[in-house]
Symmetry: C2
Subunit: 122 residues, 2 copies
């Protein structure tokens, strides 16, 4: 009877508030979206990357300037910039020997500021 529906060993079907669960199910994001979203926040979840994003939020900066701003090696900055670029959070342009990085879109700043509000208002 309970047969072929293998269950995840939790709360054996009894405590479930069916309606609540159904409504939540309606509201669920597609698995792929959830992963993309988590990946986005994962990228934001590193202090070095936050610093970089903040730094270039006013105006574009070359790698060397960014590295000199913090006590972080050029290599580390470069690795992080790649991560940020893969996440489409920053864009770059070359000018001679230098490569300048800037925020890729305004969302980035919005998200960070929203985060700041959460932090600052406890």
């Amino acid at each position: 009877m309970f047969g072929d529906k293998e269950n995840i060993s939790t709360c054996d079907d009894f405590c479930i508030h069916e309606e609540v669960v159904q409504r939540a199910k309606q509201n669920m994001l597609k698995e792929e979206i959830v992963y993309d979203l988590a990946d986005l926040f994962k990228v934001l979840g590193d202090s070095t990357r936050i610093k970089i994003l903040r730094a270039i939020s006013l105006e574009e900066m070359c790698v060397c300037d960014i590295a000199s701003l913090f006590a972080i090696s050029q290599s580390a900055i470069s690795h992080q910039l790649r991560t940020l670029k893969n996440a489409r959070l920053v864009k770059s342009r070359r000018d001679g020997k230098n490569i300048y990085y800037a925020l890729d879109d305004e969302h980035v700043d919005l998200i960070i500021n929203q985060g700041l509000e959460h932090i600052l208002h406890q």
Copy 2:
């Protein structure tokens, strides 16, 4: 010879755009704030936690309901709920044997939606 000013081995002081760096420096967040912010996003940077937050964004849910909604064990959910609670993203209340979780404030939803916009508009 190059003496006491040990340098972080980058871009030996020459390529620096002084003014740009200065302006960025003005705009810098306090170290502690940066860490808190990174921690916040770190917490958001996990698909299981995103799912949980989304699920309880409509109305509070008990642990058991949340676990039944996804194919995730009760233990895993419980661990994640603790992480979310430590980050002040959710709050809980007990009612008999059940414990109900809800979003701790509106920021949470705002941040997630902002993230969604970034994702969806490429």
